[in-house]
């Protein structure tokens, strides 16, 4: 029996916006079609006419939006598992960065600060940076999941993509600057101590950076904004280029 266009339409409606990657989508469509064919055959054997058998099979299968919701939830859970795996994989790097940053308050605090307070400051700094690096790494892995899979162009929204990527670029830039400043502050004094040269004053570096912000807030903010929006635009265009014009052929010969 030839496939009913209603079955094709039902399957397409279930998979549209499900978030499944294209390869997985084609397999799922094939699996659903096979299921619906078997269901239609059973209803036909029970004595229903063709159109009624198709309608009964589709009704038993479930509403497209319900199935789509379940598939999307499953795909998101899969993405989260991947991101958590990436987080575990790079935890050594994040912890090393956080440990370096944790040394900052201990090394750079004036002598008048009691050792206990320095250690507490180091611990706070370590926790802050490890959380920041962990969140940034997790979000980046989630976005990597999203961008690495091909999706139909009709599901792509340039505005939403631009907003998401700009937000991520802005957050990442902020995190990067914060981490870099802390790392520079923690590592440079050690290097200069080992090399025997005069210690650079972190306070001076920080002051210079702060001064740049204070003296040229518009210019600094403007440059950052241009950088962030540029990154967002680039990523949004790249994401669009990853989309495909046509969904995979759903019918099986």
């Amino acid at each position: 029996m030839p496939d009913s266009p209603r079955i094709d339409g039902h399957i397409a409606a279930m998979l549209r916006g499900s978030g499944l990657p294209m390869e997985r989508r084609a397999e799922t469509a094939e699996e659903f079609r096979e299921h619906l064919r078997a269901s239609v055959d059973r209803h036909r054997r029970a004595g229903l006419p063709a159109e009624q058998a198709v309608a009964a099979a589709l009704a038993a299968f479930g509403r497209p939006e319900t199935i789509r919701r379940h598939l999307r939830r499953q795909q998101r859970a899969s993405d989260r598992r991947y991101a958590a795996g990436e987080l575990r994989r790079y935890r050594g790097l994040y912890l090393a960065i956080a440990a370096m940053c944790g040394l900052l308050p201990i090394v750079r605090c004036p002598e008048v600060v009691p050792p206990l307070w320095r250690c507490l400051g180091g611990l706070a700094s370590f926790l802050f940076v490890s959380a920041l690096a962990g969140v940034a790494g997790y979000l980046a892995a989630l976005q990597e999941c999203r961008i690495s899979r091909r999706r139909p162009r009709e599901e792509y929204s340039f505005g939403a993509s631009l907003l998401r990527w700009t937000g991520l670029a802005g957050g990442s830039l902020f995190a990067l600057v914060a981490i870099l400043l802390l790392v520079i502050g923690a590592v440079l004094p050690f290097i200069h101590t080992v090399l025997g040269s005069e210690r650079p004053s972190l306070l001076l570096m920080g002051a210079a950076f702060g001064q740049a912000w204070l003296e040229h807030p518009l210019r600094t903010f403007g440059l950052s904004a241009v950088l962030v929006v540029g990154l967002g635009l680039g990523a949004a265009f790249y994401e669009r280029s990853r989309c495909v014009d046509q969904p995979p052929r759903l019918s099986i010969p």
Binding site: E31, S39, F61, G62, Q74
Partner: protein, 112 residues
């Protein structure tokens, strides 16, 4: 019979593992087995079965393989893994304990 969704929540995976523990099967076959073995009590939305199967597969409880059918058609056949059997064993034990507790409160056979 229509159940409150909350009653079935979390147990559908156990049911799927149980029907797969007998022998491997494809999606529609699993629906049929569930229907037959439950005496028609479980009339699940057939389509909602697949996200559960994908989840079980991602968790390593089941594995799947495409098998050639009639003509150019092919079917994805699922089979339970040793991890899935262990999960099924644990879930069955938990379920029996839960049923025993429910019977003690609601009345009925205390031994499930």
């Amino acid at each position: 019979m229509r159940f409150d969704k909350e009653l079935l929540k979390g147990n559908t995976q156990t049911l799927l593992l149980a029907v797969l523990a007998d022998s491997p099967g494809h999606g529609y076959e699993l629906v049929e087995r569930l229907r037959e073995r439950s005496g028609g009590v479980f009339e699940l939305g057939e389509g909602t079965l697949y996200p559960l199967l994908y989840k079980l597969e991602a968790n390593g409880c089941i594995e799947s393989q495409w098998q050639a059918g009639t003509g150019q058609r092919r079917r994805r056949v699922y089979r339970i893994t040793p991890t899935g059997r262990r999960q099924l064993h644990q879930r069955t034990a938990q379920w029996r304990e839960l049923v025993r507790g429910m019977h003690l409160i609601l009345g009925g056979p205390a031994r499930a």
